[in-house]
Point group: C2
Chain length 317, copies 2
């Protein structure tokens, strides 16, 4: 089935981001939200985001005129080939709304949920056609960032995941199929760990929100635009890579460097991590990875100087 | 006292990074390390890093000829005005080496330690002149990244911290004075939380190292080059900012979205976080912050396309 019409249910930051992205790739989009004034806020939000979508590149047939707002959920989803749900992150609210969507949508329309952390098997309970439901979790701003996590529930078919994957790839996204469902999927587990540790630091009076943000962005944050937690440490290990890093920093796993307990660094985990990093390097030597990172960081820092808010000066403590 | 000569004790990834940065800013640098072949490896590492330092901008008087290697620690530190310690992250090793440095250095030379997580009060125990000791924790690659965390121990004087701050600022760094010592300081608590959660995910068989890295870099990681955990969520809250975000995602703190337990979201913590974010925004409206982030991200993504390793293609699952 070809996807022509997309319905977006719930028009907060995430829903409006999706609307912009779908429109930019030339789809007809029907938005729905029961809140008063939702249409106006949604249109304003999409208007503000549109120039950025244009800058990235929009489809020839893309147009803001292809956006309609339909307050009635049943009507909004009835003709859609793909429906993306973005209502508040509360289990029963999502379940109730998803059941309505399921009831009024065409049986073979795909239903995606933007849930940040609820497991798809939980959300698809009670659906008439649960096989076409999949978690499709994006990142703010949705009209710019490439990642979308695709997570199947117990009743989701492979075909649904594959169709969703193709749909998002066609929109220049980078779908990551999460192999096993888990609360928080993958990305939000890491974001939530940072968030909770940050809250602890502020709560314990160690630093202000501003200091925590500076401590993160001016060091590690710059690196994470390019390499993730594993490849960053692989590089931090010098010529010995992750093998050396685990020797040097493995013992720190036993220390209270965060309020999070670490897993036991077994031989099996050690091997998974080391060989994983080696594979990820895709044949680049440590020096080549190093070179690549340095060239990237120097250009990134020029960019950051242009865009970092006034924080730069004011935050000198 | 003017700083002319800097000694660097321990020549691993961090030590060599410091050597490059010190040389680039026109200091005489004396490196020391007891390991066999250390001098050769150190010189090779500095040679490789030098073009990047040059690209960022080096001092007129900067020269690789101002680097000497002295295998004897006592001789290496004797004439230095500033000594930076970078030996393995093991408490007794660091203590023993710091005591030797303390014994052979000029009494008013400042001693900095690159420790990632050990508290300065622990490291300065047993020093004859503990008042001139301060943790100065940098981030790889040290010759590029701006952040250095300065942490005073119980016996460290304010004057030491102030002199260290001026020294690092003069080297185009962004020193962050950490108000209260704590294991892992600030930045490494966040990095360690990400790291431990990542290890759990791999250990539990949820994802490979490569998938974890992709899940982080293609979404959150891009944002963290500009805004930290607090301002990112402030922006994620839309017009309502952090106030709305805490309402939407506060309840998730009770859920197992990470293996890290969250602090209780008390009224006091709520206010600290909300007003902290508002202050950090420095008078920019939510729309202005949003605009700023979008312009930055679009340029960053162009940069990333240029430099992301082959992962881009190979990691499609």
């Amino acid at each position: 089935m070809t996807i022509n019409t997309v319905a977006v249910v719930g028009t907060g930051v995430i829903g409006n981001g999706w609307i912009t992205r779908f429109l930019a790739h030339g789809y007809d989009v029907i938005a729905t939200d029961p809140a008063e004034g939702a249409e106006e806020r949604m249109r304003e939000s999409v208007r503000r985001a549109w120039p950025f979508a244009e800058e990235i590149g929009i489809a020839n047939e893309a147009s803001l005129d292809r956006l309609t707002f339909e307050p009635d959920l049943a009507k909004a989803v009835g003709d859609a080939d793909f429906i993306q749900e973005n209502v508040p992150e509360v289990e029963d609210i999502k379940q109730t709304v998803l059941q309505s969507i399921d009831q009024h949508a065409k049986p073979d329309a795909i239903i995606g949920s933007s849930t940040s952390g609820i497991m798809p098997s939980v959300l698809q309970e009670g659906l008439q056609f649960p096989e076409r439901f999949v978690v499709a979790h994006p990142f703010t701003p949705v009209y710019i960032l490439p990642l979308v996590e695709l997570v199947a529930g117990r009743s989701t078919t492979d075909q649904t995941v594959e169709r969703a994957k193709q749909f998002f790839e066609q929109m220049n996204m980078s779908p990551l199929i999460v192999r096993h469902e888990i609360e928080g999927h993958i990305a939000d587990r890491l974001i939530e760990a940072i968030w909770r540790e940050s809250l602890h630091i502020v709560n314990d009076g160690i630093a202000t929100t501003e200091e925590v943000d500076r401590a993160f962005t001016h060091g590690a944050g710059l690196r994470y635009a390019q390499y993730g937690p594993f490849l960053t440490f692989h590089l931090g290990g010098g010529e010995g890579g992750m093998r050396h890093m685990l020797k040097q920093f493995g013992p720190a796993l036993k220390k209270p460097w965060t309020k999070l307990e670490a897993p036991e660094l077994t031989d099996e985990l050690y091997e998974k991590v080391v060989t994983g990093c080696e594979k990820q390097s895709g044949g680049m030597t440590m020096s080549e990875l190093d070179q690549n990172r340095n060239e990237f960081l120097i250009k990134l820092m020029d960019l950051v100087k242009e865009y970092w808010p006034q924080e730069q000066e004011s935050s000198r403590v």
